[in-house]
Amino acid sequence: MTSFTRRPGSPVERLKRALLPAAAALALGISGCSAQGTSDSGSSASGGEIVIGAEQEPDCADWIATCAANIWGSYIMRTPTLPKAFDTRETDDGWRLVPSDLLTGEPEVEITADGKQIITYSINPDAVWSDGEPITGEDFVYTGLQVRDGDDIFDKTGYTLIESIEAPDEKTAVVTMSEQYGLWRILFSGDFQVLPKHILDGNDRAAIMKDGYDFSGGPWKIDSWVRGTSVTLVPNENYWGEKPKLDKVTFQFITDTAAAFQALKSGQVQALYPTPQLDALSQIEAGVPNTNIEVDPDTGNSEAIWINNEAFPFDSVTTRQALAYSIDRPAIVERLYGKLGVSEAQQSFLSPLNAAFGSDEFSRYTRDLDKVDELMTGDGWEKNGDGIWAKAGQAAEFRITSHAGNKRRELTEQVLQAQLEEAGFKMTIANSSGAEIFSKLAPEGDFELGLWTIIDTVPEPTLSASFTSTAIPSEANGYSGINFVRTNIPGLDDLLTTVDRSVDDDERIAASLEAEKLIAANIPGIPLATVPNILMTNDRIGGPLQINPSEGPFWNLEKWTVG
């Protein structure tokens, strides 16, 4: 028997979605629906071993280096083994960064008269590494300086503002930022967690860490990493918090989706966390016996239509608005994820992970072909003999670019193509490889519409990277920056800078909501859908089983049991 659980979102979302899981379960012909909270099935016995199928293998485990940019690496090794200052947890205000058990509480934040920000972290006296050495302020110093000053670093955002880090005593770290930094909670959290100075300082960090490491400051430690095959975790006996119930967890790399589902069906693996591609959805629809399926639509991954604001015909707000009114976004979402009970379009570029900072400003754009006619004719467009809008001899013909071979996006493009044709736009599909898109086409502006995902890895809004004018890639700046849509909305830079820099959360939220209004009015792109997360577990696995949109499905692995 398969049970099907769909995670609720915000209180309003919960109300709106209350009946959907049942409908989805009926559509899938599966039973045992549970709609609220975490799924807690299976036995609660301690001990035992489980094998989990992992669809990607991390390239390396030197987490701060460029080779480590892989989300699966964070799920299966980084999160379970390294301590961090803040955890992503669900609160009454949605997903937020809250102090972890590494700290004694919320760090003290002080703004000096000259505008500097001082953050004082107080470290839990019980916090120790797996070798028994205490986790100290010096570990914060080492980690911060490695990121700030290192050569091969994946992302220095925020760390470049660190003026100094000091450890006045063993259990305190004091970080001085050269200016205010609103996203300060991502320091020593998010993508980069605290590293042990007593092991790494003076040694080749990359050599020690890249193939896995034997130290830990989390509930698990890495027992082995057999390249191409598996990663095995065992409990960290010296962990100061809740210790794991399982004796061993192995993540086996199975990159072929069909083979991964067969492995789950045959019992070779007991859990999967598949990307919701069409082949995975078909497998779920066909049924997976003895399996619980947890679907969470409140994730950090938002699929959007990105509009090149400098390319014809979208170099005017009017045509961009007309485009938005031409698209039936809920129909597309229903087509993609309806089988999972997900049918609501995303109404903000901020994903549900950042719902506290977002709004539903884009909800005004529903398919309305009369509105399209009104906007286009008002702007001097007329339909030509082919029924396509034209102005000054130029027809509204354009390309859409996405990842070639991605069936879900190809389906999305096909549905879009049909909808836009009815509205008087001619769209052709010009897909390419991800490398080509993000190294050439998008930076150089060689596209009209793009279809790709914006990913929030932590519950802190980072829209400034995508929408501030200073992030527009150009030849002059070496095509750096990811404002690929080349939007330059008056007033937006200031608002997004406030969101990034202010340490007053109320001020940040107010600025973010204002920014949302400007973005929706100018339409640099159109949010489309939140990509749901799916966790599939054998019914022998006990939980609580809950997907954390930032830390992944295995964030509470220490609580898992097997019957």
Binding site: V51, D59, C60, D62, A65, T66, C67, A69, N70, D151, D152, I153, F154, D155, K156, T157, A206, K210, D211, R227, G228, T229, S230, T232, T250, Q252, F253, I254, T255, D256, A258, A259, Q262, A263, K265, S266, G267, Q268, V269, P289, S433, G434, A435, E436, F438, S439, K440, A442, P443, T462, A465, A471, N477, G478, Y479, S480, G481, I482
Partner: protein
């Protein structure tokens, strides 16, 4: 023969060098080693990495730096994993060699047996059955056939028959924590080897049949029969030995190509071999792994070609190597 072999190997060196440069050039143009950093929110990371990896230098300059490193013993460092390219290739070559060894061994024996049977029983029912089966085998896509085998031997016994675990496994070459040549290894090996072997047997058996028919219709076989040599002895000692030369040549040539061509089989059965390494490295534009990968595969093909030539000369005394 040794001089011939050495000469052949020396001739292949410029081919490998030119080929490696063309590959370097093509990979640099087609793939971006910084692709995964292009969407980073850190606007400076790409510029930092371009400088650190020397990507701002010309392609010939980058290539010759790699070549220089190769002659001093370094095959290069992967831009994807930060690992040593030689170790990565050695790690990937071993599973692939195991698959090729068992696939070629089992496939060649079965193909030869089927080919001889079909030739000796030409246009009889058995010949037609094997001919039909071989056409099906050649047409079977590996990914489809592999998944079919997984369903039949890996999933149905558990789901339909209630078995506690499947009789044959299909993830990797060993269970987690297991190693060595044991029953667990055999349970993992069967399905990928069958997937690989089915196509090999299908094509090689056709070749075996054709070469055996050639031998059976030759003058020396007719003479042997006319002299009253028993049929079995004619087939085994006269026809079979002479038909072996072209058959083994084809087997060895195919084995060389297989070294880099098991992408689908390795993908389906989650085997971290050369095919999977190629796929991962291509997607990441990891030219410093692709270059030695290509060199190793090229050497494997050259060596197997050489072995094919040598074996032909060994089996057919009419052939002289110069």
């Amino acid at each position: 023969m040794i001089a011939y072999a050495l000469r052949r190997l020396l001739y292949s060196i410029p081919v490998v060098i030119v080929g490696s440069f063309l590959l370097f050039w093509a990979v640099r143009l087609a793939f971006d080693p910084l692709g995964k950093l292009r969407q980073s929110q850190d606007p400076t990371v790409v510029a930092r990495e371009i400088e650190r990896l020397g990507l701002d230098r010309s392609i010939p300059e980058q290539y010759f730096l790699w070549l220089k490193g190769l002659f001093s013993g370094s095959w290069g460092v992967s831009t994807r994993t930060g690992g040593d390219a030689m170790q990565m290739i050695a790690g990937a070559a071993w599973p692939t060699l195991q698959l090729i060894f068992w696939g070629v061994l089992i496939g060649s024996v079965i193909a030869l047996a089927v080919g001889v049977y079909s030739a000796v029983n030409q246009y009889r029912v058995g010949d037609y059955i094997f001919t039909g089966a071989s056409y099906i085998g050649i047409a079977l896509p590996a990914f489809w056939f592999g998944l079919l085998l997984i369903q039949i031997f890996g999933v149905w016994p558990v789901q339909a028959l209630g078995a506690k675990e499947p009789p044959l496994y299909f993830v990797g070459l060993h269970s987690v924590g297991d190693s060595g040549l044991n029953f667990d290894y055999i349970r993992h090996l069967v399905l990928p080897v069958v997937t690989l072997t089915i196509t090999l047997v299908a094509s090689w058996s056709r070749f075996g049949r054709a070469s055996m028919l050639d031998a059976l219709s030759s003058d020396y076989v007719r003479t042997a029969r006319a002299k009253g040599v028993p049929r079995k002895r004619v087939i085994a000692h006269h026809a079979l030995r002479n038909s072996m030369a072209p058959f083994i040549t084809v087997v060895l040539l195919d084995a060389g190509v297989l070294f880099g061509g098991l992408v689908v089989t390795e993908q389906i059965f989650s085997i971290p071999g050369m095919g999977k390494l190629l796929l991962d490295s291509l997607q990441a534009g990891d030219v410093y792994v692709l270059l030695p990968w290509m060199a190793v595969v090229a050497v494997a093909i050259i060596v197997f070609n050489l072995l094919a030539d040598l074996s032909y000369a060994f089996l057919d005394p009419r052939v002289k190597l110069r």
